[in-house]
Amino acid sequence: MATSTREYLDPVFLSKLANMELVARCAVEGFFAGLHPSPFQGFSVEYSDHRQYHPGDEVKFVDWKVYARSDRLYIKRFQQETNTTVYLLLDASRSMAFRGGQSVRKIDYACFLAAALSYLMLQQCDSTGLVLFGEKIRAQIPPASKRTHLNALLQMLEHVEPAGRTDLAAVLHAVAEIGKRRGLVILISDLLDDQGDILKGLAHLKFLKHDVIVYHVMDHQEIHLDYEGLIQFEDLESKDKVRTFPQSIRGEYQRQVAAFLQDVKKTLRNANMDYCLLDTSEPLDHALIAYLARRRRRM
């Protein structure tokens, strides 16, 4: 992907944009502008537009009529039509308010991702719903596929403020009860809850034949603990305190976090769920690629 287009996926850049719609459009279109050739268009039936032929494009998509008229090669592109139902589960607990260093807050990053995914899904006429949760479900928008539905989703994302503790398992069970129609469940969370409970909740969704993608949002400092000097760490949710020299425990911490992440990843893979670890200091393209890969497998 070209560097210039990747800038549009940078969370710090996106945080400076005025509204969530602009964020979503910028992220998605920036993402696709960098893909060359596009693997995700040209396989549907509804005409979308033309674009200039580039070496490597499949010859079967060349519009020969246009070539006959203009003596130029153009590729004919089509709009995809599906009827998938997507549930976006966004963790808005207090721990998502964490921000270490220069990157954005985890909640902001998660909102950008949710907005970009909503935009992308509604472009493809997927029914998209949104669930905000902390200890329990705080707000939800039922799935719909109308273009105007995007405004409702983005408006909710624009006003998300993290609060409360996390009880992910309970929320997942509740969503399983709500989501009557099987579809794609996208969980965007920092997974700071009991690991076994989370897995039980996700297993419940899987049992109901949902496809599950877990976006594990973590800050760079949470992964690497790059602090120096004597620091008193205060938990955002429980208000617990730990005073330590991070440099003296960094190695041990990193080992434990790596083991935790590896464990989560292994467990979810074994349960046939997609897992994508997101560092808030990284651009959004990894997340979008993960989604599109799963989406393609469903086609």
């Binding site: 700071l192 800050d219 938990d235 003296s248 911490y253 434990q256 935790f260």
Partner: protein, 711 residues
């Protein structure tokens, strides 16, 4: 264990500091909100206990450092039993070859006895022993001698007219102690331990470390004592007679009758009077001629005897600049070298008078004239002729024959008067300038350019100031030294001056006296055999309280006085003679002159200004310049070499114990030299080197631990 400076142990109380700091100190931290505390806690618990352990360790380290530093300053010594090992032995023989050892005690001198003891010592030492022989007075030192070489070296020593010095012995001993690997240094110290030897031993800066120290007091067996001429100086010249004060001392236990006679070598017609108060005694013992005048000397109390001589015969005897006088004390005693004292006297001219011309612009010299009159009345300015002339009426005839010309202000003289002024100063006269204003005319610059005016006043600084307590030392120009000393007694540094002038000095001018802030007070410049001075204040007002103080007369004498018209040339054999001889400065720009040393050998003396730097004396006797005018210099025994009384009980042991530290490794048992006075072997091991290393290691450890804690 013991401590040389145990009071420093009190410094260990400072250990409270790190403990209090540890108890009160709270680490500064910053608060950071975080999420994954469960992962932090797992590593934290064991880290925290480790950190507490390290904190405690570092506290203990710092306490140990404080205590060890206190112990280090206290200089610990450890008493250790000597091990019976016998490393390779090096025998150091420190032998006192000073002149006091030449005292004849019966049939042989103390020196001969010392040499005999040394030879016995060497002969009894093991065959493979190595010797170092050190002459304490001569500084002669020979290292790495075999037994045979040491015997030869010892026999080559002879008494020298100098005092015993320990500086070189101690520095060499320290170097040898550092270089010694598997060697045991045994020191044998043989001396008469006169008070001067004990003082020299006490003045060593730091004790030397050796394996064993033996000493032996080589003193006279009889108690007859020694009688010596300690010093002689010219007391006065009055009514054509020269008076000499001669200090003699008898160091025996009982009273003694002596005669003091004087003569001038090579001048048979000179007669020196008998001591005042001497009486003709009936036949005396100890070889004093019957009927000779004698004085009685009490034991241990210096007595001053006055000799008088007619100056007329001396002046007619050759007109030389210097008159050698040899004073001899009879009867002879064990030490001949201190029975004769040599003193050369430079006599003033018999027409001594001082002609002073005071040049002024107004009535501003009243206080100065009064001071001169007082000096004349007191005899400090013999035959004072004071002439007062107004500056614009000064003529060449006023300056003719003047010894001192004093200007109340820097004058603006025409060319021909500058020439007359120059003639005065080149013939040994003196110019003294006070400063009243900034001179404007070119004539003043001519004075300055020709070197007659030492400095050119440029700007008045109206700021109260004070002179330094005494004139500058180490300058080549000498003014009246007695006046300078008396000025110190008056406390001139507490007398305020109203200000001073900033001056541009002539190139060869010197600053003879400074003000408290460092600004020059008096400039001087040598012109021919004369001298020109500039006082950068005015005579009437700026000198302020000085002109009205009792110091004023001494200050005027400092400016116009001649330093001791009767010059005396006598030195001890261990000092380098420096003579004040203006006659040589008057004879043109010579840098060296030929001299004859005490042993008759020739050498060269350096001439700088009116000072003559003679070569080091080669013995006792006379040194003299070969060039005219002939100057004699008497070289005498150093004062400390005359007192050969035995030291008090325990004084030698105390001095040796302070000066030497013996290491634990005892050397081979030495031959018992002088069984009556052999000293015990000291076995104390200095520990401060180890303590210092421990402090350094702990400091490094502390730094490493503290650095580790920050991580």
């Amino acid at each position: 264990m013991t401590f040389l400076q145990w009071t420093f142990l009190l410094g260990a109380v400072a250990v409270i500091g790190p403990i209090v700091a540890h108890l009160l100190g709270k680490p500064r931290f910053r608060r950071v909100p975080f999420t994954m505390l469960r992962f932090l806690r797992r590593g934290q618990s064991q880290r925290y206990s480790r950190r507490q352990l390290r904190d405690l360790l570092i506290l203990l380290l710092r306490c140990a450092i404080v205590v060890l530093i206190a112990v280090l300053f206290a200089q610990p010594l450890l008493y250790v039993r000597a091990e019976p090992t016998k490393p390779r032995s090096v025998h150091w023989l420190a032998l006192d070859d000073s002149m006091s050892m030449a005292y004849r005690d019966g049939t042989q001198t103390l020196f001969d006895r010392m040499i005999g003891m040394s030879l016995d010592y060497i002969r009894r030492a093991p065959e493979d022993a190595t010797f170092t022989v050190c002459g304490l007075a001569s500084g002669r030192m020979s290292h790495g001698l075999t037994k045979a070489q040491a015997l030869v070296e010892i026999k080559q020593l002879k008494p020298l007219p100098a005092g015993a010095k320990f500086t070189e012995l101690f520095s060499t001993l320290k170097q040898a102690g550092k270089a010694a690997q598997g060697e045991a240094i045994s020191l044998l110290l043989l001396s008469d331990f006169t008070p001067s030897v004990l003082q020299a031993l006490e003045r060593v800066p730091a004790p030397a470390v050796v394996n064993a120290v033996h000493y032996e007091h080589v003193g006279p067996r009889d108690t007859a004592g020694n009688t010596a001429v300690l010093s002689a100086r010219v007391s006065s010249i009055h009514a054509g007679k020269l008076s000499l004060d001669v200090t003699v001392c008898h160091y025996g236990a009982a009273e003694r009758q002596c005669t003091l006679t004087g003569r001038s070598p090579g001048k048979a017609n000179l007669e020196i009077g008998l001591p005042v108060g001497a009486r003709h005694a009936s036949p005396l013992q100890n070889g004093v001629p019957s009927g000779a005048p004698s004085v009685t000397l009490a034991p241990g109390q210096p007595r001053v005897l006055r000799l008088e001589m007619e100056l007329g015969s001396a002046r007619q005897s050759g007109g030389q600049a210097c008159w050698p006088i040899e004073l001899r004390l009879m009867p002879n005693d064990g030490l001949d070298a201190d029975d004769t004292y040599r003193l050369a006297v430079g006599l003033p001219s018999d027409t001594a008078q001082t002609s002073i011309v005071v040049v002024h612009r107004g009535e501003e010299t009243f206080l100065f004239e009064t001071a001169l009159q007082a000096l004349s009345n007191s005899g400090s300015l013999p035959g004072l002729s004071l002439k007062k002339v107004q500056e614009d009426r000064l003529t060449a005839s006023d300056l003719a024959g003047a010894d001192i010309v004093l200007f109340a202000s820097v004058p603006q003289l025409p060319d021909y008067q500058v020439g007359a002024l120059k003639a005065v100063v080149q013939q040994g006269g003196r110019l003294v300038f006070f400063t009243n204003d900034v001179p404007q005319s070119g004539a003043v610059k001519q004075l300055w350019g020709e070197g007659l005016l030492p400095a050119l006043p440029e700007r008045w600084v109206a700021q109260t100031t004070y002179p330094e307590p005494r004139p500058a030392a180490g300058v080549s120009l000498d003014l009246d030294s007695r006046a300078a000393k008396s000025l110190v007694n008056y406390g001139v540094d507490r007398i305020a001056l109203k200000g001073h002038w900033l001056c541009e000095p002539a190139a060869p001018a010197e600053c003879l006296w400074r003000l408290a802030g460092g600004a020059p007070f008096i400039y001087g410049i040598a012109v021919g055999s004369g001298l020109s001075l500039l006082v950068n204040t005015s005579m009437d007002g700026s000198l302020g309280l000085l002109a009205k103080s009792p110091a004023w007369v001494a200050f005027c004498r400092y400016l116009v006085g001649r330093d001791d018209p009767v010059r005396q040339f006598c030195f001890s054999a261990d000092e380098r003679p420096v003579l004040h001889v203006p006659e040589y400065a008057a004879r043109g720009p010579r840098t060296t002159i030929a001299v004859e040393n005490c042993d008759g050998g020739r050498g060269a003396a350096a001439v700088r200004g009116n000072r003559v730097f003679l070569p080091a004396p080669t013995g006792l006797g006379w040194m003299k310049t070969i060039d005219e005018p002939v100057v004699y210099v008497g070289i005498n025994l150093p004062s400390g070499e005359t007192d050969i009384r035995p030291p008090a009980d325990g004084a030698i042991a105390d001095a040796v114990q302070r000066a030497f530290i013996t290491d634990t490794r005892e050397g081979p048992v030495l031959a018992q030299v002088g069984a009556t006075h052999a000293s015990p072997v000291l076995r104390r091991k200095p520990l401060w080197r180890y303590v210092a290393w421990a402090v350094i290691l702990l400091l490094l450890l502390d730094a490493a631990l503290a650095n580790r804690l920050r991580r």
